[in-house]
Symmetry: C2
Subunit: 316 residues, 2 copies
């Protein structure tokens, strides 16, 4: 057994939902009859998607979280994942911490890690995740309708502010705000339960990974509609809300939020507020779908706000 | 649209077998009722799994081929694949050539590419592949039985010899032999049709990627049996067979063969010879499963042969 096989052992655990787990040419799982299989892949590269000095436990958590967020945005139930990773050197401490973060989140969501590949190379992580939803049901990007409300979960801009502080500094940022923002950057919470519950309520959905306006733009483009979004309504931390003007970029276009942005008919407002309370997850109505193309971000006076950036590029 | 989105376009093609292809948070496919889903992942890193100057078309072919080979070794039918790639720079020529190799092989096997992720980073390729087989049927590694014959498809050692010539030179190697070996290294043929047909005939199977003896070893370990293998019987090129003694390492332990090694009851010999003719794919009986642990490679006199290496490490 070589050093990499030792490391691989950290990632080989019994797969509860599998017919055959790690250790053969392929893993075998049995899809639920009458369900569609939802598949997504995300690759994370050091220096582009995370800082080189990130805690390995946080990196493990986030590597799975960003993938769970994609499944959540479909309204599907996550079931299985495979992980491939290239490591520059063998570091058992790093591997055990990364695995603790990755499997901790996997177990919390009942996701079985059914396969993987470990090799030497520049630090690169790729996860393919599988979810299931009843056949024909999904929160697709192309289903927004004129007249829909636009909603977003949780709070926006926290992770982007943490990155901005790290890269450029911001003396005015209170330490307790920074701590909350860093936590959001390192340990995002994928909105899995919310996505599943939205399957019967929402029309279109996407997860906010590249910034609210950029990701909402994908819904608009694929649905052939436009949207207006109210800057004053965007949910964020109280301190950030007080500085909403100068932090508009982080809040509306910062990225790394891993919240769900979705559209729903106005008749669903009461149901969605009830769902927010039930799930203990803030849901905020931030705009509406209109006819046309593209999006307009409006200030309190109804005037268009121009952002300096269009979406995720903070590591570029 | 940025440069990477342009590149990504090369990899976004209509997905015939999908409910929803590339372009949403996840792709959606509909598994075949009554079938199990087989899942495998392989990551390829420059300098470790391929030379930096490999033709991009060959690299695209091989990136998918090594994954198809895993599905073949399960006896499953490949259906879908997702591809994540990190690229050091944007090179449209490279991308179009890589895509030609990758999609050419995908289309030949009816495999839909349903998702992907492209990012900047050191050249790294990761494919997750999905196959299907009737529920409960699979060529697992743990199913070899004492008394089984050991078989291998195609010819062994060609790719390893091409790598060895590249790294160390070999003045005695005829150019026409080298050309065949290089072709095998760059454009391996995954034994997909063979694997499917073996589902009803063979007991255990594995694909030969790390070298025959190392991969057969996985079957033996998981099945709790031993094997003897006859060096004189190992199929290879005529020129290599003439130099079998000095090329034993490449033939029996060279790796990168992507042939299938499998075990089958002796009662299946005639059926397997018929299958070889039908598929135009050489099948050679190379040994037998016996009680015990581990494997013994024997020469023509029945004496044990000691190899200098245990398996894949030629890029290490």
């Amino acid at each position: 057994m070589n050093e990499f096989e030792l490391i691989q052992r950290h990632f080989t655990r019994p797969a509860a939902n599998a017919v055959l787990g790690v250790g053969d040419d392929a893993a075998i799982v049995r899809p639920t009859p009458g369900h569609d299989l939802h598949v997504s892949v995300d690759m994370l590269v050091e220096g582009r998607h995370f800082f080189a000095d990130v805690e390995p436990r946080a990196l493990g958590h986030k590597t799975l979280a960003v993938n769970l967020s994609d499944i959540a945005a479909m309204g599907a139930t996550p079931r299985w994942a495979v992980l491939s990773l290239a490591l520059p050197q063998v570091d058992e401490h790093w591997a055990s911490e990364f695995a603790a973060g990755f499997f901790g989140l996997a177990e919390a969501h009942g996701v079985s890690v059914i396969g993987g590949d470990t090799t030497r190379g520049p630090l690169t992580l790729s996860v393919t995740i599988f979810g299931e939803a009843p056949a024909g049901q999904a929160l697709r990007r192309d289903a927004a309708q004129v007249g829909d409300d636009v909603w977003v979960s949780g709070e926006l801009g926290l992770a982007a502010l943490a990155v901005r502080q790290r890269l450029r500094g911001d003396a005015a940022l209170p330490p307790e705000v920074l701590a909350v923002c860093r936590r959001k950057l390192d340990y995002p919470t994928p909105r899995v339960a919310l996505g599943q519950r939205l399957l019967d309520v929402a029309h279109a959905a996407i997860d906010v990974s590249d910034g609210l306006m950029a990701d909402l733009g994908h819904i608009l483009e694929r649905s052939g509609v436009a949207a207006e979004v109210w800057l004053e309504s965007l949910p964020t931390l109280p301190w950030m809300a007080e500085n909403r003007g100068r932090l508009a970029d982080s809040i509306a276009a910062g990225g790394d939020d891993y919240e769900l942005c979705f559209t729903a008919p106005s008749s669903a407002r009461a149901e969605l507020q009830g769902l927010a309370e039930e799930l203990d997850c803030t849901l905020t109505r931030i705009g509406r779908i209109v006819a046309g193309q593209g999006s307009r971000l409006l200030d309190a006076a109804g005037q268009p706000v121009t952002l300096q950036r269009g979406g995720f590029d903070h590591f570029a």
